[in-house]
């Protein structure tokens, strides 16, 4: 039920246009000669009460899924994960859950850094001897939404 329809996109808010800033300055490249292809972020094992927030699915649907887990699903706590652009949305969802529960729910937020990998494909494929990849970092948030122990 909690399986995302498309696991490829579940944790990948890849619409972040600001990748150029976060890239390490060590790899200097001509933008014409390379095309950048982002690989998916590393997937981690997923429990039933993990919710990965993305920017593609409707906000209300994601909120409803969390509510369903807490109320109908019988979970005492859920984890909401957001990466990059989706951090904002993850926070929004968590806060909405809290307000709608009239203070019964509590939040505990953690942040982390996720290493992402980009492939650089040369326009002229005969040139690059070594496969060009680079790593960049992106921020992520993990919010635990839970009912406090009585």
């Amino acid at each position: 039920m909690t399986e995302p329809r498309n696991p490829g996109m579940s944790s990948a808010p890849q619409v972040n246009p600001a990748h150029a800033e976060s890239s390490s300055p060590a790899v200097e490249m001509d933008p014409v000669e390379y095309t950048l292809r982002k690989r998916l972020p590393r997937k981690l094992p997923k429990r039933r009460n993990d919710v990965y927030v993305n920017m593609k699915t409707d906000f209300r649907a994601q909120l409803a899924r969390c509510q369903k887990l807490l109320e109908g699903g019988g979970h005492r706590e859920i984890c909401i994960h957001g990466l990059g652009l989706a951090i904002n949305r993850a926070i929004n969802i968590a806060l909405q859950l809290q307000t709608s529960s009239q203070g019964a729910l509590q939040l505990a937020a953690n942040t982390s850094t996720v290493e992402l990998v980009d492939d650089l494909e040369p326009e002229d494929p005969d040139e690059a001897g070594e496969p060009m990849t680079r790593t960049r970092n992106n921020s992520a948030i993990h919010i635990k939404v839970f009912y406090p122990e009585p």
């Binding site: 996109m9 997937k43 990998v117 040139e127 690059a128």
Partner: protein, 918 residues
């Protein structure tokens, strides 16, 4: 009077006296019949003179000629009695004698007839039984005489005996080759005969969604062994010089792509006829170079192509490499025993068997030694032993080798395919010293004796071990190649089918580093080497495979049942190649969906790897799911989506014939009337006509400097594959947002001048697009892609129906008289020329395809379905480049790239968003 009628009449009249006459159509004929067949009775001379006086006349005669007006004055007693006697005799004979076609029970009145009387004579009354029996015997004899004596088939037991079964299998795959997994598939799949192979289309059980789930979250397995492999050997410079004539850098990577050349990656290349780019493409192939080997000077590469492409590709390769000298296949004993295992060779497994079962009856081995030995065909069995498969060139030194069916290729699709592989396969165990001293003839002990080989094997095994810790196949660099030698996977077969789950444990630091290295850098170059490249090793492995039976016997003799066989038998090592398949690489959405691994094996080992893979919980799919896989990846499939390639043209013709045949099988009243739906060509796509019409339209509308383009004769259409142009087009298709932000800064803005210059280069082009529907609807094959009018765009998002007004079928009236004329036999001059009219289809030549409907047509789709991964209908197809650009120019910023889609059997238009993906 027809011949059948005359025959009937003759039969009726046979036993009649001459005086009886039946009315007939022609008056004179009745008389002649009377005379001709009056042999039953003996009419008197008087009657013969005036038969109308005394003859019996049945029925009413037209001229009243039957009944004579005046009664005869007197009758001669003798003659009269004689005539009557003859009649009675004839009557009696007619009653007693059955005509040949009537059954005995027809003599019975209806209430005495019983069911199945002709089958069981005991149901007849006893007085009729003898006659019925005689009749039955006669008919049986006649039947058996008519039919050919059927060949007396052997008993089922004899037929199922192993040798006879193999003979039968070999006979049955003479026309269409079987893959090694054929029997497994034939039990579970709907098989189709395609491209000279018997292939599984789709399973007989329902599994559409579960296959999709397997693809997107676990692993889906497909047998791709029908792909043809062509091997090229030679100096690197010579090879590159030759092959570079067939590719172009503009259309993507070539044979010379550095990463590919080192052997670390597999790339996909579009091949053109020599020096013809951008016209006359042949099709896509995947290219795999063998990494540089220290001992060998030349290079080796494999070109994997679709079987329909091979017949075009092979002559082209021969001419480009100037490889005309056919090398006769060596008829040395090695090849012979590869084809048909000859008995005199002391085969290791034979020795093994003999050792294990000394008292066992091996009838065939002793008795049938003189007979031609039966061997299951491995590899391409249809090829005659003398067929040339190797060509070499004296000038360039290149050798082309056709390796069709020599290498088994399995494709695993899905994020967990690496876990399945790491679970099913195990890096080969190193041979002990003891084996070496025996001086065995197998390749692995010899291979083990070299220190450097062992070092390499250790590295490869390490990489393979690291693969286990990766959480998803998509994390790896696309196209990675890993060579490996593995143990016989049958040894570690689990007792029960299980489902492999990823094991992402919190590994040690060292493992973490290795994993990072693998993800970032890919497999190191030396690890891409595999013994699978060497023919001698392949042959050795294929020949010395332990048969299933012997292996099972060895397993059964283990002390602890179910434990792993140890030590591993010396012939149980197989060289394999693992090739990573990148998932969806184009476009912004769903990136890396459908990534997986390809597993290359030497021939003969197909089933030995297939069952262990299946036991690891993969789903198995056929051709149908393969289509859906590439549909979701938005990738064109060969030969479906290559209308400019020769194989694609052939495919379209076949497809049209097939659809037309299916269409004609329906009665006209139950057919879709495509004329009324305004669909000109529901079964094919007239691409050439479309390209030409758009070329005319843009030239007329744009008022360009026309003198140059007029002088140029209209050429064949081409599919746009130039990366740069595609990228430009892709940017233009996207709607501009209100902020005016563009993803690519250096992109030209869409303007009239930019379009003009673009079109001067690509006037007759089509472009591959993905159309995602904005609302509901499920696009089908050959749906029309149309341009919305300005009014249509206002309705966008308002849930209002857009409909094509129904067309009138003008041909219907021309079909009808044609039918009537057939009946009434008077040829109408008006209806004769339309003899090839089919109800519901436009006859050739088609009118203008672009402006036939109320919305201008841009192109057609070649794949279309509800996409489970996108959640709405998606179609893939081609549109005309000039048409698309003109449409985009006219559309305002936020609506840019919105087109209409209409199914061939429907009048509804649906809005769709067009994407050109690079």
């Amino acid at each position: 009077m027809s011949a059948a009628k005359a025959k009937m009449r003759e039969k009726k009249m046979r036993n009649q006296p001459a005086s009886v006459q039946y009315p007939s159509g022609v008056n004179g004929e009745g008389g002649s019949q009377n005379r001709g067949h009056g042999s039953g009775g003996h009419p008197s001379s008087k009657e013969r003179k005036k038969p109308e006086d005394t003859g019996w006349v049945r029925g009413h005669q037209r001229y009243g000629g039957g009944y004579s007006k005046e009664m005869p004055k007197y009758i001669t007693g003798g003659a009269f009695a004689r005539a009557r006697a003859a009649e009675v005799k004839a009557m009696l004979r007619a009653v007693s004698q059955t005509a040949c076609s009537s059954h005995v029970f027809q003599a019975l009145p209806k209430h005495m007839r019983r069911r199945a009387m002709s089958h069981n004579t005991k149901r007849l009354p006893r007085r009729l039984r003898d006659v019925a029996d005689r009749m039955r015997e006669k008919s049986l004899q006649a039947g058996s005489k008519k039919k050919k004596e059927p060949a007396k088939s052997k008993s089922r037991k004899a037929r199922r005996r192993h040798g006879n079964l193999l003979l039968d299998f070999n006979r049955r795959q003479r026309k269409n080759i079987w893959l090694e997994t054929h029997i497994w598939h034939a039990k579970r799949f709907h098989m189709v005969k395609k491209w000279g192979y018997c292939l599984g289309d789709r399973p007989t059980y329902k599994c559409y969604r579960s296959c999709y789930r397997a693809m997107s979250s676990h692993c889906l397995l497909q047998d791709l062994s029908y792909y043809c492999c062509i091997e090229l050997k030679g100096e690197e410079d010579e090879l590159l010089a030759a092959l570079s004539q067939m590719t172009s850098k503009e259309a993507g990577p070539t044979f010379a792509a550095a990463l590919c050349l080192s052997g670390r990656r597999q790339v996909s290349v579009t091949i053109y006829r020599i020096g013809q780019y951008p016209c006359q493409p042949l099709g896509p192939v995947t290219v795999l170079w063998r990494p540089k080997t220290p001992g060998i000077r030349g290079r080796q590469l494999w070109i994997w192509a679709h079987p329909t492409l091979k017949q075009d590709l092979l002559p082209e390769l021969q001419s480009v490499c100037r490889c005309w000298e056919a090398v006769p296949p060596s008829i040395d004993p090695e090849v012979l025993c590869g084809k048909e295992k000859s008995a005199p060779h002391p085969k290791p497994e034979n020795i093994l068997e003999a050792k294990l079962k000394p008292g066992a009856k091996r009838k065939r081995s002793s008795v049938d030694a003189s007979e031609p030995p039966v061997k299951k065909i491995l590899g391409d069995g249809t090829r005659l032993p003398g067929t040339t498969v190797t060509w070499k060139s004296s000038s360039t030194g290149i050798v082309i080798n056709d390796l069709t069916m020599e290498i088994v290729r399995y494709r695993l699709i899905g994020p967990q395919s690496h876990s399945v592989l790491t679970e099913a396969l195990e890096a080969a165990t190193v041979c002990k010293e003891v084996d070496k001293s025996l001086g065995s003839t197998f390749w692995w002990p010899q291979h083990c004796s070299d220190e450097s080989n062992m070092l390499l094997h250790q590295q490869q095994a390490d990489v393979f071990h690291t693969l286990k810790g990766i959480s998803s196949t998509t994390e790896l660099p696309p196209g990675t190649v890993l060579g490996l030698t593995v143990d016989d996977p049958r040894l570690t077969l689990p007792t029960k089918k299980m489902k492999v789950l990823p094991c992402v444990s919190q590994a040690q630091e060292a493992d973490e580093d290795k994993r990072k290295e693998l993800i970032l850098r890919g497999v190191p170059e030396q690890c891409c080497q595999s013994s699978l490249w060497e023919e001698s090793v392949r042959d050795d492995v294929t020949e010395n495979k332990i048969p299933e039976q012997a292996l099972n016997r060895m397993k059964s003799e283990m002390l602890v049942p179910g434990s792993r066989l140890s030590p591993t038998p010396p012939q149980g090592r197989v060289p394999v190649l693992l090739v990573h398949q990148p998932g969806k690489q184009v476009g912004q959405e769903m990136s890396s969906w459908g990534a997986g691994w390809d597993l290359l094996l030497p021939k003969g080992w197909g089933m030995a790897f297939w069952i262990p893979l299946v036991y690891r919980g993969v789903r198995v799919a056929g051709l149908h799911m393969g289509l859906k896989h590439s549909h979701s990846k938005a990738a064109p499939i060969f030969p479906h989506d290559f209308p400019d390639c020769p194989a694609g043209i052939r495919f379209q013709e076949e497809q049209e014939a097939e659809f037309l045949d299916k269409f004609k099988r329906h009665p006209p009243a139950k057919r879709t009337n495509y004329i009324k739906h305004g669909c000109l060509a529901p079964f094919r796509c007239p691409w050439q006509q479309l390209a030409e019409e758009w070329e005319h339209l843009t030239r007329g509308g744009g008022d360009e400097p026309a003198e140059m383009s007029v002088a140029k004769p209209l050429s064949l259409f081409i599919v746009l594959r130039n990366r740069k142009s595609l990228r430009l087009l892709s940017g233009w298709c996207r709607p501009t947002t209100s902020t005016g932000r563009r993803l690519n800064r250096e992109l030209l803005p869409l303007s009239q001048s930019a379009v003009t210059s673009f079109l001067s280069a690509h006037g007759m082009s089509l472009v591959w697009v993905r159309l995602s529907l904005l609302s509901k609807g499920r696009p089908e094959l050959h749906s029309m892609v149309c341009v919305p009018t300005a009014e249509d765009l206002k309705l966008l998002g308002k849930h209002q129906d857009l409909q094509e007004p129904p067309h009138r079928d003008h041909f219907k009236s021309r079909i009808k008289p044609q039918k009537k004329s057939l009946k009434s036999d008077d040829p109408e001059p008006r209806s004769t020329p339309d003899s090839d009219l089919i109800f519901g289809l436009w006859p050739d030549p088609l009118p203008s395809v672009t402006s036939h409907c109320s919305r201008v047509t841009l192109g057609w789709t070649t794949q279309g379905d509800f996409s489970l991964c996108a959640g709405h209908g998606e179609a893939l197809g081609f549109v005309s480049v000039p048409g698309l650009l003109n449409t985009l120019l006219k559309q305002a910023g936020e609506h840019r790239g919105t087109l209409l889609l209409r199914n061939p059997g429907s009048l509804h238009y649906r809005f769709a968003k067009v994407n050109v993906e690079v």
